[in-house]
């Protein structure tokens, strides 16, 4: 089904109608073809905006192996009991029905850059004129000694949505009153910089509100500091007393090993035995399909042109979201959604013409600390000196009034609904 008149009129699909059309970059074929790999905040947004803004002049295919998208963002609110699991699950149907996007439910395994084709798990190939890659992260299973893919049931990461998220909640619900939760945090750069600390807050909220006030949460961090630390830590003390203990690397002296069978974590400072559960959030890197295609260094993220979101290694490929190195922009859903709009504009302009405005970027990350107590950090960014550079930033302040924190949480909830509508509706 093609976009409706209203969708085209109200969307920036109007861009094509109102702008002077340039010469299409792709001649001699019915429609230029765009393949989008990954249906998260980067990919779903890019697919929608390219299809909508080109008014059907570009054939857009979205390759996503999962039937639904389960948001990482707000998965901590599920863990904290503020949302049902169903509330963080979304479907792709509108992208096909309203915007004419072809949905391919399969895993994209390889990029044939020379042939400009995507290879699916079943060997099928999909040709493209432009490829938008938004595969998210892969976990480095060897980044914590003793931990592995096999250990992720006993010591879950919960850093990719789905069963892992639910496993974290199950284990939290089973923590005894005097139990100890150990959270091992990842080194920079990783998905959702404030995420581990919001999660610790949700752990404490659940423990406190279920009367398990003797339980404690130990955060072992490889970083000297963390996102919104100056706001999180006083709030933890105010809300949860001594329940949450954060230890930086100078204190714990490194994670020496974990034993998933016994629930043991050994650091240079102390050994934690018989932990109620251990949440290992490991180091991360760009998704395999990007690394395997030579778009990212081993174990790293994809370099991009900050003015276009194009890979610096291949001008036909755009890399969005957690998989790219976006300079000062954090790896967040907001960032990925924002970057997708820059890429969509460039793709549409290159393939079917229309205006191409200078890239600009923005991000905000909200984190819930307790009921009606949320904090936020964000800023605006611009291409500068070959990278996306921060221009101005803002952050919640310690000691803000209850009313401000309540309003911040109301924003957080409204943002979730808006960004999901922006991606999927």
């Amino acid at each position: 089904m093609k976009p409706t008149r209203r969708d085209l009129a109200t969307g920036s699909g109007a861009l094509l109608a109102m702008g002077a059309l340039g010469t299409p970059a792709v001649l001699g074929q019915a429609k230029p073809r765009v393949v989008v790999v990954g249906g998260g905040p980067g990919g779903a947004t890019a697919a929608k905006y390219i299809a909508r803004d080109s008014q059907g002049a570009i054939a857009v295919t979205l390759v996503e192996e999962n039937e639904t998208y389960q948001t990482c963002f707000h998965s901590n609110l599920y863990i904290g009991g503020f949302k049902s699991y169903d509330a963080i699950v979304h479907r792709y149907g509108t992208l096909a029905a309203t915007y004419g996007i072809t949905l391919v439910r399969s895993r994209a395994t390889q990029i044939d850059r020379e042939g400009k084709q995507i290879v699916l798990a079943d060997g099928q190939r999909i040709p493209y004129d432009r490829l938008v890659l938004s595969p998210g992260i892969d976990l480095k299973y060897d980044s914590v000694p003793g931990w592995s893919k096999e250990a992720e049931e006993a010591m879950p990461h919960g850093w990719k949505p789905g069963r892992q998220t639910q496993l974290i909640k199950q284990k939290l619900d089973a923590v005894p009153d005097d139990g100890t939760i150990v959270m091992i945090c990842p080194p920079n750069p990783y998905r959702c910089p404030p995420g581990p600390y919001e999660r610790a807050s949700m752990f404490a909220h659940v423990l406190k509100t279920t009367g398990r006030t003797k339980a404690r949460i130990v955060i072992l961090d490889p970083k000297e500091s963390f996102s919104k630390q100056g706001v999180f830590m006083p709030d933890w003390e105010k809300r949860y007393g001594a329940m949450i203990e954060w230890l930086g690397p100078k204190v714990h002296d490194g994670i020496k090993s974990v034993d998933p069978k016994t629930g043991t974590v050994v650091t240079g400072f102390e050994t934690y035995e018989n932990c109620a559960f251990v949440n290992v959030i490991p180091a991360q890197m760009a998704g395999a399909i990007a690394r395997d295609a030579g778009l990212a260094p081993a174990g790293g993220y994809c370099a991009i042109d900050p003015a276009t979101m194009k890979s610096t290694a291949d001008s036909n490929i755009f890399v969005l979201g957690d998989a790219c190195n976006a300079g000062d922009m954090p790896k967040s859903a907001f960032s990925a959604n924002n970057q997708a709009k820059v890429a969509a504009m460039v793709v549409r302009s290159e393939l079917v013409g229309g205006p191409n405005f200078p890239a600009r970027y923005f991000n905000t990350c909200w984190s819930l600390v307790d009921t009606d107590d949320a904090i936020k950090v964000g800023g605006r960014y611009e291409p500068k000196d070959g990278r996306i550079a921060a221009v101005e930033s803002f952050i919640s302040q310690p000691g803000e009034s209850d009313e401000v924190r309540k309003q911040t949480q109301a924003e957080n909830m409204a943002w979730y609904d808006a960004i999901c509508a922006d991606m999927f509706s």
Binding site: R380, V391, E392, M413
Partner: protein, 114 residues
């Protein structure tokens, strides 16, 4: 009393300000005559938080269908940090008068979905 469309849009606008806790009087700079194509692009930054349908779940006000001058006035006052909200202050600070007018023209041209 018969209310025309402008009155209804103004009422929605005022409701939006109320949601943000804004009480400052509106300033009304000159007529907005924005470029809708530029506005459509710039609007993509807004739609991460403000739904294009005009729907809202309360914490972030709808911005669809506002009178253009009032829309520009609100952005202008955020840019001058006369209204409280660091997200909006940061966004508005980098918008030129032409860009504010473009956004006003674009969002003003839309009607909220039921």
């Amino acid at each position: 009393m018969v209310r025309d469309g402008t009155d209804r849009r103004s009422a929605r606008f005022q409701a939006g300000l109320a949601l943000l806790g804004c009480s400052a009087l509106l300033v009304t700079p000159g007529h907005a005559a924005g470029d809708p194509a530029l506005g459509a692009y710039l609007a993509s930054e807004c739609t991460a938080c403000h739904q294009l349908s005009g729907r809202s779940t309360g914490g972030i006000p709808p911005i669809v269908g506002w009178p253009e001058q009032q829309f520009v006035a609100a952005l202008d006052s955020y840019g001058r940090k006369q209204r409280d909200n660091p997200v909006m202050q940061t966004i508005a600070a980098r918008l030129s008068p032409e860009e504010m007018a473009a956004l006003a023209a674009y969002f003003g041209s839309l009607q909220p979905k039921p």
